[in-house]
Amino acid sequence: MICINKRLLTALMMIVLFGIGAKAQLLAVKTNALYWAGLSPNASIEMVTKSRISVEVGAFGNNKPYGYDLKMTGFQPQVKYWFNGRPMTREFVGLGIIGATYHWDEHGINHKGDALGLGLTFGYALKITPRINVEFTAGAGQIYFHELRKTYDDDKWTTNPDVEKAETLTGMVDEDKYGDHYQGWNFMPFNLGVHFVYILK
């Protein structure tokens, strides 16, 4: 399931970068300050493809920010529609996808899984200089996740009896098999950010 998703996303990215990107009128690099505040390095490229439409592809990741036992990598492609006819100026609405794999421990529960979501973003690009913008974005989206939850007591994985049984039968330990599989939909904030944009060309 996740493999398919990854392929799909890669394909989408390729299309964005090389297919539509060939017509780009403007090319900008940007980074989201809010993510940085969460100690998550991130960067994205935005390309203007038509007078009112631009496409953005970005990636982010983190590892144990502020000591949290959290690790996450993901990417966030987005198509934006600019309302006033000039791209990267003033109001826009964006339709975006988020794909991420994550892993975190919390309250004795270990989460490990992938998420894929679709979200709608609203934003405003504030021109600072001809080459620099500050972009405010906020949105919400429906996100599908699929994860393995493991709980542990006294440094021992608590697993379901079936797996233990199988392990004893085969003599092999498959850590992934510990825990329970969870999946579901979450409605959550999407693409919150204060982006600094530098227009390359």
Partner: protein, 817 residues
């Protein structure tokens, strides 16, 4: 003390008396400045926005009397006295008695009285009130609506200008304002020219436009016109002025502008406005000038004559004795001809550059006798002549001559022809009959010899015994002026044009006196020199230019090849590439004539360039000044201004008016008093001056215009489109003038009718009287006749009876009228 008091008294009287008598006129000069700060924040500067009047009074008392009058009013015509007006730099000059007084007055400020006291320089600082700039009271409208202005025009330069008010909330930071003015020809509404657009960007628009252009402004065609000012939502006012070269200086032009505003997505405002009216102001229109055209010295530009080979021929005819190869002694022409031929040949052989090419000697014999011996005779005759020639010509000449001796016997047909020409048709017919019968010349001869008319025929034979000589030779030489002239006259008669060498044209220039023909010659020489040398011949070009100028035609391309604009000097001598010959760049005469040409073409810009090349010699001064003045440099160059101003009374007024200042207007008004009142221009200029006085001058302007129209109606058309005159005033004046004219015409017609009626009446009366007189006369005549009859009867009776005395009856003529 008392003893001397009378002396003192006497002395005092003497001094006072002297004081009263010694009124010498002196010239007083000076400068009047503003003691307060002007608009630029500087004190002690001349008044620029107000006319400064200097009133001249012969006595101090007189000045004091008038001081209050002057103080209370504004303008010149308050008191009856002389006055002077300060020029732009505040200087004045006037003639005043050395014990007189001057009153200085500027605007509404209090007048200042200054006693002359024998001084020659009186400088004055007046307290000008704080000068408010000309205030335009603008009722702000919410719409963009520029007001059309009357623009100035000098020659082919049009100076449209306007101010575009952008009311608040029309502009935006994310919008671009484009003003595209364009020039319209008022006669046919054609668009002549697009002026430079004005582009105002809002800051947001500007920055995002930069992005849109890929951070390269070259991609935006309007970038060069983007102003530094940014468009905002505030009220703005955009000044615009341009200089346009117009194609037809005799027409009027107006200017429109498309004003457009667009934001990121759409054009949200677009409208056309007229911003300059068809009423152009032409301050230099009435400037008087005449062209000082200068011919080139023809001897300096004489073309070197080129020698050419010319085919020439000479021919003579000699007659011979019968049956002999000797010249006919009865014909004296023979000797002369032979001598002339020999002389000619000697001359040719000795002449420089002459080569004899061909001899054609044809000896002929007459047909009588035997043909063979005739032929021999002809040959002998040819030999005779040939010998005459060869004896005198050197061998080396002879060796190069193609000789073609021919001996022929003239047939009887020639005799017949000759006789026929002499109206001896019968004999000729007979001879022809003989020729027809036989072809043998011997038989023909025998037959004819037997004819009755043979003696008659014989008379025609000697002419046939002759030698013709024809010589062709080449002469390598130049033509003399007489020969050139002869060719030219021949061409004039036949009408077939031929080509001449340039030196031949040079001679023709000197010989031809008719100006029309001369111009044609100049043009031909000019065209041919281009064809021949690839560049025009300066003399022909200059002469042609002068000829054109004389008849008000212009062609600025004629003289341009001789002028190098990079050189600001005249008569520069340059070596040609060959290193030996030289040429003159910018000959003074040519530059001067080209200047005239440009003025004629209304291209005052280029005329000014020519003026800058011309040196500052006294003879150039006036022409230079006119060119620079017409080119619009009169405002910056004081010398130009003064030179043109002093050149004629009309020019003085024109130049003062061109300043377009209050002081200028006042000076113009003063200068206009000196103009010739019989000239319509005078009244037109006076109308302009009055018109500039605003509402106060309305009536004066109307009166002056009417007077001008009555002198020359062509000024109606000028006034109709003159931006120097108020449009409404002109319209109503024209109406009034035409109305008055119509009324006068009606009145005249009425008077004429009345006069005619009176005349008819008088004629009728006269006729009646004449009839009455005729009647009376007839009656009288009848009476007289009757009396005569009676008398006759009485006389007859008296004859019969002489003793009886005839009674006398008298008629009076008093009744007769």
């Amino acid at each position: 003390m008392k003893r001397y008091s009378w002396i003192l008294l006497l002395l005092a009287f003497a001094l006072c008396g002297q004081d009263a008598v010694a009124q010498r006129m002196t010239t007083v000069q000076g400068r009047v400045v503003n003691s307060k700060k002007n608009k630029a924040g500087k004190a002690m500067m001349p008044f620029t926005d107000e006319a400064v009047f200097v009133y001249i009074f012969n006595t101090i008392a007189d000045a004091q009397d008038n001081l209050s009058k002057i103080d209370g009013a504004q303008g010149a015509a308050v008191v009856e006295c002389n006055f002077a007006v300060c020029d732009q730099s505040g200087n004045y000059e006037c003639q005043v008695p050395d014990n007189g007084a001057l009153i200085f007055k500027v605007g509404m400020a209090p007048a200042k009285l200054e006693k002359v006291d024998g001084r020659n320089i009186i400088n004055m600082a007046l307290e000008g009130e704080i000068m408010l700039a000309n205030i335009d009271v603008v009722a702000y409208v919410q719409e963009i609506q520029p007001k059309p202005k009357a623009a100035e025009r000098i020659g082919n330069k049009f100076f449209p200008y306007n101010t575009f008010p952008i009311p608040p909330h029309n502009g935006r930071p994310n919008a671009r304002l484009i003003i595209q003015p364009f020039i319209i020809d008022c006669t046919n509404d054609d668009t002549v020219n697009y002026c430079k657009p004005i582009v105002l960007d809002g800051q947001d628009y500007h920055d995002t436009q930069y992005r849109l252009m890929g951070f390269n402004w070259k991609h935006d065609p309007l970038y060069p016109y983007i102003q530094r000012r940014r468009l905002t939502a505030e009220r703005m006012s955009i000044d615009w002025a341009d200089t346009i070269t117009i194609p037809h200086p005799d027409r009027n032009y107006s200017c429109y502008a498309t004003i457009q505003m667009e934001d990121f997505t759409s054009i949200f405002f677009k409208k056309d406005f007229q911003i300059v009216t068809c009423h152009n102001r032409q301050p230099m229109r009435f400037l008087e000038y005449k062209f000082d055209m200068r011919p080139l010295d023809p001897y300096k530009y004489k073309e070197v004559a080129k020698r050419e080979k010319r085919n020439t021929s000479a021919a003579i005819q000699l007659t011979f004795e019968v049956g002999k190869a000797t010249l006919d002694p009865n014909n004296p022409e023979n000797e002369q001809n032979i001598a002339a031929l020999q002389n000619k040949l000697k001359e040719l052989a000795a002449g420089e550059g002459v080569s004899i090419k061909e001899f054609h000697i044809t000896g002929t014999a007459s047909p009588e006798g035997i043909y063979k011996s005739n032929i021999d005779l002809a040959k002998k005759r040819v030999d005779f002549v040939q010998q005459q020639i060869t004896s005198i010509l050197p061998k080396y000449v002879l060796a190069r001559v193609y000789q073609n001796p021919q001996a022929i016997v003239n047939g009887w047909a020639k005799v017949a022809d000759a006789m026929e020409a002499d109206e001896q048709e019968e004999i000729a017919e007979k001879i022809r009959g003989v020729i027809k019968n036989t072809k043998n010349m011997d038989i023909q001869g025998a037959t004819i010899a037997k004819m009755e008319e043979y003696p008659e025929i014989q008379k025609y034979l000697p002419v046939l015994r002759s030698v013709k000589y024809d010589c062709k030779y080449e002469i390598f030489r130049e033509l003399s002026p007489e020969e050139i002239w002869a060719r030219y006259t021949e061409e004039q008669q036949t009408g077939v044009e031929r080509k001449y060498a340039l030196y031949e044209y040079w001679n023709l220039f000197m010989l031809e006196k008719d100006s029309v023909k001369l111009e044609k010659l100049y043009k031909r020489a000019y065209d041919e020199s281009i064809e021949l040398n690839g560049q025009p011949w300066i003399l022909a070009a200059n002469n042609l230019a002068i000829s054109y100028l004389k008849r008000d035609t212009c062609d600025v391309t004629l003289l341009e090849p001789f002028i190098d604009r990079r050189m600001k000097h005249v008569n520069m001598v340059r070596k040609n590439i060959d290193g030996f010959t030289t040429r003159t760049i910018n000959p003074e005469e040519v530059v001067n004539n080209q200047l005239c040409m440009y003025i004629k073409a209304y291209d005052f810009d280029n005329a000014s360039v020519m003026a800058q090349i011309l040196p500052n010699t006294p003879e150039n001064q006036l022409m230079k000044a006119f060119a620079l003045c017409l080119g619009g440099y009169y405002k910056s160059d004081k010398q130009v201004f003064e030179t043109v101003k002093n050149s004629s009374p009309v020019n003085e007024v024109v130049m003062d008016l061109a300043l377009d200042t209050k002081a200028g207007n006042a000076m113009a008004a003063k200068a206009a008093q000196k103009l010739d009142p019989e000239s319509p221009v005078t009244w037109y200029l006076k109308a302009i001056i009055a018109n500039r006085g605003g509402d106060m001058g309305y009536i004066d302007a109307t009166q002056n215009l009417k007077k001008c129209f009555s002198m020359d109606e062509k000024y109606i058309k000028i006034a109709e489109t003159d931006g120097d005159l108020d449009e409404d005033m002109v319209a109503s004046t024209i109406d009034e003038y035409l109305e008055e004219k119509k009324m006068t015409a009606e009145l005249n017609a009425q008077m004429e009718e009345q006069r005619k009626a009176e005349e008819a009446e008088a004629a009728k009366k006269a006729a009646e009287e004449a009839a009455a007189a005729a009647e009376l006369e007839a009656a009288q005549k009848a009476l007289e006749e009757e009396a005569a009859k009676k008398k006759a009867a009485e006389e007859a009776a008296a004859k019969k009876a002489p003793a009886r005395k005839a009674p006398v009856k008298r008629t009076t003529t008093a009744k007769k009228k």
